[in-house]
């Protein structure tokens, strides 16, 4: 139902988020359902002649450094990778080191730390964006206060650069149209043009960053071919060895 609503409201690209919060040991990263199974035929975007683009995204909630494993193969099926750091140290690590596309800002509770310019500038240089989600603000009045406070703190440090606004919607009615989100960005301390960019060109930049992350330096892209897989299984016996020369 949510996916039917998004194109009607005016979005041309949506990402389905899978949240992974590793609490127990050996907890497995969820694998995303293929888009074709989830939605049969992609609906057309309102006012356009092209269908909506649907991507898969993984958000790893980090409460310890070991929760995010860089270059893990379980992350490969996802188009976008996001982390949600919960402490200052993890936020610093996420900004400077983690190979991710999006850093989620806590909106459901008071921020346990202050944003410092250094890690924020570091992540801006790397092309990593900060995400503020608004659905929790729609559900609860206290969360609305936390969302606005945390977002305004972020904007003071990052000056409105590299920010995206997203819904984190679980129901169709928690989704809002793109121009409404641009107006919401004004409440968060963004200027009108920054707010427009947060919904348009910065999101495009994130998608390109995600594609480049899967390649070598953004130039070379490798893909396992079917033939190699078959040959590997055939050669699983002892490798060929030289026969010793008989003298």
């Amino acid at each position: 139902m949510l996916k039917m609503f998004a194109p009607a409201v005016g979005f041309s690209t949506v990402a389905i988020n899978y949240v992974f919060e590793p609490k127990a040991k050996k907890q497995e990263v969820p694998s995303p359902m293929p888009i074709t199974e989830l939605i049969g035929k992609l609906p057309m975007v309102q006012g356009h002649s092209c269908p909506i683009r649907v991507l898969n995204r993984l958000t790893v909630v980090m409460s310890e450094a070991s929760h995010f494993r860089p270059n893990a193969s379980e992350y490969r099926p996802f188009d976008l990778l996001a982390v949600q750091p919960t402490t200052e140290k993890l936020f610093h690590a996420a900004c400077m080191l983690c190979d991710v596309d999006i850093i989620c800002i806590l909106v459901t509770e008071r921020l346990p730390f202050f944003f410092k310019r250094a890690p924020i500038n570091g992540s801006i240089d790397r092309g990593v964006v900060f995400e503020v989600s608004y659905a929790s603000a729609l559900r609860d009045i206290t969360m609305r206060r936390y969302t606005i406070t945390n977002a305004v703190c972020l904007m003071e440090s990052c000056k409105g650069k590299n920010v995206i606004l997203s819904s984190a919607a679980e129901k169709a009615l928690e989704l809002r149209g793109p121009y409404d989100i641009v107006n919401l960005g004004l409440l968060f301390g963004l200027s009108d043009t920054d707010s427009k960019e947060a919904v348009t060109s910065t999101c495009r930049a994130v998608l390109l960053h995600a594609e480049a992350r899967k390649t070598a330096s953004g130039i070379v892209y490798t893909m396992k071919s079917q033939q190699e897989v078959l040959r590997d299984t055939a050669d699983s016996e002892a490798p060929a060895a030289k026969r010793p020369k008989s003298t």
Partner: protein, 349 residues
């Protein structure tokens, strides 16, 4: 520090008071400059139904054509240029494309073709253009203006061949297209239309009668309140501001009078400035003939998603793409003209 909510996106309102009898009045020039008109709304006081001459004027707005999936390189076709572009005025606009998201195309009556492209499309096209005036931090929008009547773009010249190659092989730009020709009508466009899926459209006319319309003093009212009241009347929004209703807190500016009846009519489609000019002339005649009519209001809206608004000025959409003008005419040949644009527009003429 909290967000600065007192600042709103910029909008521009140019106000002019003049008279039709004044030789220096620039009304015809200003009407002609807004080339792509989407909707014309009329408000006539003390009028139950449209007088016959006005009704015939509204119904005689030029027809236009909607071509589905027109490849844009077809606009460079030699026969099309010879028969349509060089011989008269072609008005063409891409349909179903958003100026802040997609690639938009406009073909103007002076022979200028304007392409407003996103970054990827511009880089694929490989033809010279410039970044949009309204880019913020990143250059995400580019404008490619081409003068088809210039010698360097004559069919067969290197510039022409380069653009044709760019549009037919580098970037196969294809959009639904609204097109109209003045004065030839469909005849000049026949060759182009016959190759694609096209349909002829008539501008849609609708009218309704308003009763007990509260009206401000139109001569002395300030422009913003006047335009707000006109918008409320056109959109059928109540200006009562009753305590039990929270839908609208709009009020009619004081001092007010009440009109027993008024006519609100509108025409929408791809409307040509020449037809708007004719309508203005008819309304002037109507004001002279009818004793009861002391004023008439015409509001002309431009397309929100067009690449150009007034003249050759670039147009963009931030959260709204308004570009319109309102002409308030009085019985004594004087008028008030208000020209309005939004944040991503140049100044109206």
């Amino acid at each position: 520090m909290c967000a600065d909510l007192s600042r709103t996106p910029r909008n521009l309102l140019v106000c002019e008071r003049s008279s039709f009898l004044d030789e220096k009045n620039r009304l015809s020039f200003q009407v002609e400059q807004l080339r792509f008109n989407y909707k014309v709304s009329l408000l006539l006081p003390e009028c139950g139904s449209a007088p016959s001459h006005l009704e015939s004027t509204l119904n005689s707005f030029s027809r236009f054509y909607l071509v589905k999936k027109l490849p844009i390189y077809e606009l460079l076709d030699k026969d099309f240029l010879q028969n349509a572009v060089y011989q008269g005025s072609v008005y063409g606009l891409s349909f179903g494309t958003r100026i802040d998201e997609d690639n938009c195309v406009a073909l103007m009556p002076n022979g200028r073709l304007v392409l407003s492209l996103d970054k990827d499309s511009y880089e694929m096209l490989g033809f010279e253009g410039r970044p949009s005036r309204f880019n913020h931090r990143t250059c995400s929008r580019f404008v490619v203006p081409v003068d088809l009547k210039e010698r360097s773009m004559a069919p067969g010249s290197p510039g022409y061949r380069r653009l044709l190659r760019a549009l037919s092989s580098h970037l196969k730009l294809q959009t639904d297209f609204l097109i109209s020709h003045h004065p030839g009508g469909g005849a000049a466009l026949k060759a182009l239309l016959s190759r694609y899926d096209w349909s002829e459209r008539r501008p849609e006319v609708c009218s309704r009668r308003l009763s007990d319309l509260v009206c401000p003093d139109l001569r002395s009212c300030d422009p913003h309140s006047l335009l707000e009241w006109l918008g409320a009347a056109d959109a059928d929004v109540s200006c009562q501001n009753s305590s039990s209703s929270f839908l609208s807190t709009l009020t009619c500016p004081e001092p007010t009078t009440t009109l027993a009846a008024a006519l609100s009519a509108s025409v929408s489609g791809l409307l040509l400035p020449q037809d708007v000019q004719r309508l203005v002339e008819q309304l002037r005649c109507h004001l002279q003939q009818e004793q009861t009519a002391s004023w008439a209001s015409v509001t002309v809206h431009g397309f929100a998603d067009g690449p150009v608004s007034w003249g050759d000025e670039e147009h963009g959409v931030l959260t709204g793409g308004e570009n319109f003008y309102n002409l308030l005419m009085f019985h004594d040949h004087t008028y008030r003209l208000h020209l309005a644009t939004g944040p991503q527009d140049g100044c109206p003429p």
